[in-house]
């Protein structure tokens, strides 16, 4: 059992809030599995399946096959814009 803190930034935070804790039976899962699990739990989280929603693990942007371990933080985020 691992617990992972997932947070949401940008437009998706309107639908999903800022943060939620998730618990998984496995020791080691992928970012893609977290996306799928969120979409299963919460209809609004289907937005996470859009390709422009990127993800970071421990503040590093990664692809969906990146693994996540206990204690790591996962951030899903909408399109960024500075300046």
């Amino acid at each position: 059992m691992i617990r992972i803190d997932v947070s949401f930034y940008g437009e998706i935070s309107d639908l999903l809030g800022r943060e939620r804790a998730m618990v998984f039976a496995a020791d080691d899962i992928t970012v893609g599995e977290i996306r799928a699990e969120l979409a299963r739990q919460d209809e609004a989280a289907a937005v996470l399946l859009k390709p422009q929603i990127r993800v970071a693990v421990d503040s590093r942007v990664v692809k969906d096959d990146a693994s996540v371990k206990a204690g790591q933080s996962v951030v899903f985020f909408s399109v960024v814009s500075g300046g």
Partner: protein, 153 residues
């Protein structure tokens, strides 16, 4: 070659930033700055009463320094500075200040220009406008993407 970045949660005083950046600088000759101001009207013409820039405590500051360093490495500049607001911003307030110093005028212009194009599309902020006619999230415009695409990387 130096590059510094700062995430500012309070007000950003562009004049003071410029004063600090040029202070004691007698080897460079050329300093170009860009100051971005919050506008009272969105690109669709609607009135904006508040702009909010959401930010991530690690990813956002890191994106600023990484962009500043990329610019300092790419152009013949001696110093690059980025200061970027986060949080709630009122029309007329400064959102961003960037400056580049170089012995060569054109390099200073190119560095500031390139840095702004990258900040618009890559700095880790999430921009939200609200006003009397509603609220919306703001993404980089087609023009911002075209500006970014002018550069080879």
């Amino acid at each position: 070659m130096a590059a510094t970045a700062h995430l500012e949660l309070g007000l950003l005083d562009a004049g003071q930033e410029l004063t600090r950046f040029i202070s004691g600088r007698d080897g460079d000759g050329a300093v170009v700055s860009f100051t971005g101001l919050a506008r009272a009207n969105a690109s669709n013409g609607q009135e904006v009463s508040c702009l909010r820039l959401d930010w991530h405590p690690e990813m956002t500051p890191r994106s600023l320094i990484e962009l500043a360093e990329a610019v300092a490495a790419r152009f013949d500049v001696s110093d690059v500075r980025v200061v970027h607001r986060a949080g709630s911003i009122t029309p007329g307030e400064v959102i961003v200040f960037v400056a580049a110093a170089s012995p060569h005028r054109r390099q200073a212009f190119l560095a500031a220009d390139y840095l702004m194009d990258r900040l618009k599309t890559e700095a880790m902020f999430w921009k939200h406008e609200s006003g009397p006619s509603g609220a919306r999230w703001v993404e980089p415009t087609e023009q911002d993407r075209a500006d970014r695409a002018r550069w080879s990387d």
